[in-house]
Symmetry: C2
Subunit: 303 residues, 2 copies
């Protein structure tokens, strides 16, 4: 059996997975991205684990999904949500450390490919994967291929400006979608509406518990989030006319409290020619597996 | 020499062109779209001209660019800016009338293909064509192909909602980009700012004459148009990361009065990772030829 390593680098955590050639996730390991002051130390630790795993698995290559990961250059370039600044030659660092070939792409692109090859988007040629978490990302699939764009940085849905002059964004501008629809953005909306801050340790799921108990502020927070994200998804649909939009990430644990308002505002704002044609779906891969499966598929098959 | 017919159907006028295999436009004819009560009468007149032209040219096929033209079905489907309602099987009607094979696509898509094959986008693989006129349209090129989407209706840039609750749009919703940046939308902005209506016969170019004479209301109109369109183009760039955005259509006759504010607000709103990478350009094909060249290329080469 052949195996592939898939690495999903998030702002908070990194997951390393070993994937078999049938898409089975056979092992996963967690690393705390935030705790590594330099990418070299990060590659050293993750690389040592990979070298150890090669004793058990015939690993063919390493695929990485990372914020601002660039398929063309193999670098992470100026990622606002990572502790490492500037341009990081990740594929070179991993190949030097492990001797394995290594491909890099945007973490949301990797999730989209994972969904297409192993999840709910199997058989679909045109869809959009929207990842909600520390930030908001997207992978846009057109005619069965990831849209990379001229410079490799397509799919930055989180950085469309939805409210000019709105909330400050980590990218240095104001009013980006991710300032409202990331986990932190949703919490901030709750703070603005209720005047109460969630405890730092509390996950976004807590808002669903509050809503479930009839908390009007929590319900209003979901309504506001759905209003902003539903409109943004209707606007994106007018550009690439997808068959479906998949939602993925921690905030989806809030279930219908989050999804229903998104769907309602999406439907309300959708151009009539698309009415009834575009499905809003949730990822059908285990939360931590879409990205590593997608990342691994970068080296499993020619891109 | 082989020849191809390209037909550009606009809300106001239709252009029929005969294109040689080198992309030369050898003859063009104008028809008043608005004056045809039914698509059958329209096809009858345009088809008769095609039949007449076949005495002089060996025409291989007919390509059509039309609002809401669908490459997959060969139909115009529910176009808000045309006199004909519902779903019109244009390719079937033309083939029945002339015996020629016929392909249909969105008029803006056709313009994009024309720009790529014969204009300023030659050699580019990722760009966006934005058409300003009776409406606002777009053709999005990714990896050298037009993005058609799941249902054939991708590229409806004019119908992204830029101001929720804003101006009434022909599509039945409010605040669409085209209500602000079409020729009529720009005129409306001038009316709102100045309290004065342009004479019905006056083209949008007149605003450039006023601006040139120092008219503050005309200058403010261009600034407002640039603010809205510049932001929209920055947002679209974050999705497909193009090498260039081409602007095309009547309002471009206003030259730098229109283009400078678009560029300024585009640059101001662009995510920093794209800074300096995306050119704002004007179409390098004669105004009426981009669309007919693009339409003709639908039958010249396999799509």
């Amino acid at each position: 059996m052949k195996y592939f390593a898939g690495i999903d680098i998030g702002g908070t955590n990194t997951t390393l997975g070993i994937i078999d050639e049938n898409g089975g996730v056979v092992e996963t390991y967690q690393f705390s991205t935030k705790s590594y002051a330099t990418p070299e130390k990060f590659v050293d630790d993750v690389g040592n684990k990979l070298i150890e795993l090669r004793n058990s698995f015939h690993i063919e290559g390493v695929g990485i999904g990372a914020p601002n990961g660039n398929y063309y250059t193999g670098c992470i370039e100026f990622a606002p949500n990572l502790p490492w600044k500037g341009k990081i030659a990740l594929s070179v660092l991993f190949t030097q450390k492990t001797g394995l070939i290594c491909k890099v792409t945007n973490d949301a692109n990797a999730a989209a490919v994972g969904e297409m090859k192993f999840g709910g988007a199997m058989g679909m040629k045109n869809f959009i994967m929207v990842t909600l978490g520390t930030g908001v990302g997207s992978g846009i699939i057109v005619d069965g291929n990831i849209v990379l764009g001229h410079d490799g940085f397509a799919g930055e849905l989180g950085h469309i400006i939805v409210l000019p002059g709105g909330r400050n964004c980590g990218c240095g501008r104001k009013g980006c979608l991710e300032t409202y629809c990331s986990a932190g953005g949703i919490k901030k909306t709750y703070l603005e509406i209720s005047g109460k801050e969630l405890d730092p340790g509390q996950k976004i799921d807590h808002l669903a518990e509050l809503a479930s108990a009839g908390d009007k502020n929590a319900l209003a927070t979901f309504a506001k989030t759905g209003e902003i994200l539903g409109l943004a998804l209707a606007n994106v649909s007018a550009l690439t006319s997808p068959e479906a939009i998949f939602l993925f990430g921690g905030p989806l644990h809030c279930g219908e409290f989050l999804i229903d308002p998104i769907e309602n505002f999406f439907t309300k704002n959708l151009l009539s020619i698309y009415a009834g044609k575009i499905k809003i779906l949730t990822s059908q891969l285990p939360m931590n597996h879409a990205a590593i499966l997608g990342a691994a598929s970068l080296v499993k098959e020619p891109h």
